[in-house]
């Protein structure tokens, strides 16, 4: 008995230590961003909001944030819709084969620096290097495995006969999608969209290799600021970024638990 208890205490202490290692470095960014001094310091000696004023008053940061937002919204929408279409195939036309599933996971497994290099050479020749549209499509591809995994897993809980039943009652396909599929998948669609959004919003490799240069995406601009290491206003950007990502992540984790599934369809 005592041995089991000792093991449990050791286990929880180990958990706490690892969590400290994972969370502490991120946590210190927050107080550092409210520092009142002119250089970056932790712990801060005085408090102020001047890094926030500086960042929010700087048109370049705002332009980058706006670009990142547009790209991420497009990429997330494209990945979610493509993923939904794949999941419809899974539901309606027989299971998506493991080979095809593995194919859809390629963007997750293939080294992004190699893909970015190939794209660089391709885009250089077609004079599309730095195009935000191409980057948005690239992000959609990188986010695709996430949305497909979420949606195909969600669709597996739906009874396939439901479609046939609706069709035999005279419903057209778009009606079935609107009245049966979308309500059943609503939460998974939001989760897929959020995961894809974060994947694009935080993406660095494609953004640095083939992304726009004069107005880079937010991560790309942050990367070049961090390389210079002289501008503490990045701490404000980092805090806002972390806050946004954590809240999006929390929503995607909590959402499926807050709302019960609207219809229980599995037998």
């Amino acid at each position: 008995m005592t041995r089991g208890r000792g093991l449990r205490i050791a286990g929880w202490s180990y958990c706490s230590l690892i969590l400290l290692f994972l969370l502490f470095p991120v946590a210190i960014v927050v107080p550092a961003s409210f520092s009142g001094s002119q250089t970056l310091e932790f712990p801060p000696s005085t408090w102020s909001l001047h890094w926030y004023h500086q960042v929010l008053g700087d048109g370049r940061w705002l332009a980058s944030a706006f670009l990142s937002l547009r790209i991420a919204l497009f990429a997330a929408a494209a990945a979610t819709v493509s993923g939904l279409m794949v999941s419809v195939v899974h539901l309606r036309f027989g299971r998506v084969t493991p080979t095809l599933r593995a194919f859809f996971l390629l963007p997750l497994i293939a080294p992004h620096i190699v893909l970015a290099t190939g794209l660089f050479s391709l885009l250089l020749r077609t004079h599309l290097l730095g195009s935000p549209t191409v980057l948005a499509f690239g992000h959609a591809c990188l986010a695709l495995p996430l949305s497909i995994v979420v949606l195909v897993n969600a669709v597996e809980t739906i009874e396939p006969l439901l479609w046939s039943a609706a069709a035999s009652l005279g419903a057209r396909w778009w009606m079935i999608v609107r009245e049966v599929l979308l309500p059943t998948l609503s939460i998974s669609l939001v989760v897929a969209f959020l995961l894809a959004f974060i994947a694009s919003w935080d993406e660095v490799t494609f953004a640095v290799f083939i992304g726009p240069i004069s107005t880079p995406t937010l991560p790309s601009r942050m990367f070049s600021y961090l390389q210079e290491l002289t501008n503490p206003s990045v701490s404000a950007v980092a805090t806002m970024l972390a806050a946004l990502t954590v809240s999006a992540g929390l929503v995607s984790v909590l959402l499926p638990r807050l709302r019960r599934r609207p219809v229980r369809i599995t037998p």
Binding site: I18, V26, P98, T117, F209, Q227, L241
Partner: protein, 300 residues
Amino acid sequence: MTSVSFPDDGARHGARAAARRRDVTRLLLLAPAVLLVIAFVLIPTAMALLDSFHNDGSWTIENFVTIVTVVPYPRILWNTVTIAAATALLSVALAAPLAAFLAAHEGFVARIVLALVAATFWVSILVKLFAWQVLLARTGPLNMLLQAVAVTTPGTSLLYTRGAVLVAMVQVMVPYACMLLVAGMKRVDWDLIIAARTLGARLPLVFASVYWPQVRYSVIMTTLVIFVTASGFFVAPALLGGSGEVMVGMKMQSDLANQYDSGLAATTGTVLMLGLLLLSWIALKVSGASFRRIAEEVGS
């Protein structure tokens, strides 16, 4: 096929047309996803391969000779392998006990811990690297602490060292490793372990012959995935490392940005890819799994 005869020829045509329509619909539904992967994975990979064997309009292996012999390339390849390997081993070593513990505990606190681990996974890598820049700075809290207990002298910098790169990369990778490992370790059959204990097996024996075989695949697979991911990092060594920590991603980016010539970058990428494929093949042979199973595992 031909021997099957329908009573009504019209019905047969109708069935065939319906089947064709189904196939077309299926293809159209899959098209956007498949096209995205072709456009942004298959074609770029093929392009990188092509570029690496192409120099000044003719086919050559000159690029590969350069990569292997000309300074700094061999050094950079070696850096990449050693840093990625150390990151993978350290991350899995740190994450495995945590994952084993969390996988064996069902409860509110265990769920909270897992949620916190997942939350750090979703924080941008740039935010984490920035945090390490602050922590490890010359006048940062860690250096001050070390100076106070006289471990380091005021001049030493913790930043721009291999240690800085490793600590940050491990911090970035532990949540990923933990999530992959928990998924695999949830499937451990504890009844087998209890049975072995009841039959009088000692703990080391239970671990080696009952527990390890059940998690071996998951541990090897996770190490491989972390290694592959880590070898493609270029932001961590660029922000925290010195000239001794240049990894292939950084070099590829600077080659592309400075020379606008994708030959050497593509060759570095090809060598990296071939190396990773070879390594994955060996790891899969050792663990007795297949690429398909990895894909299913990552996807589940």
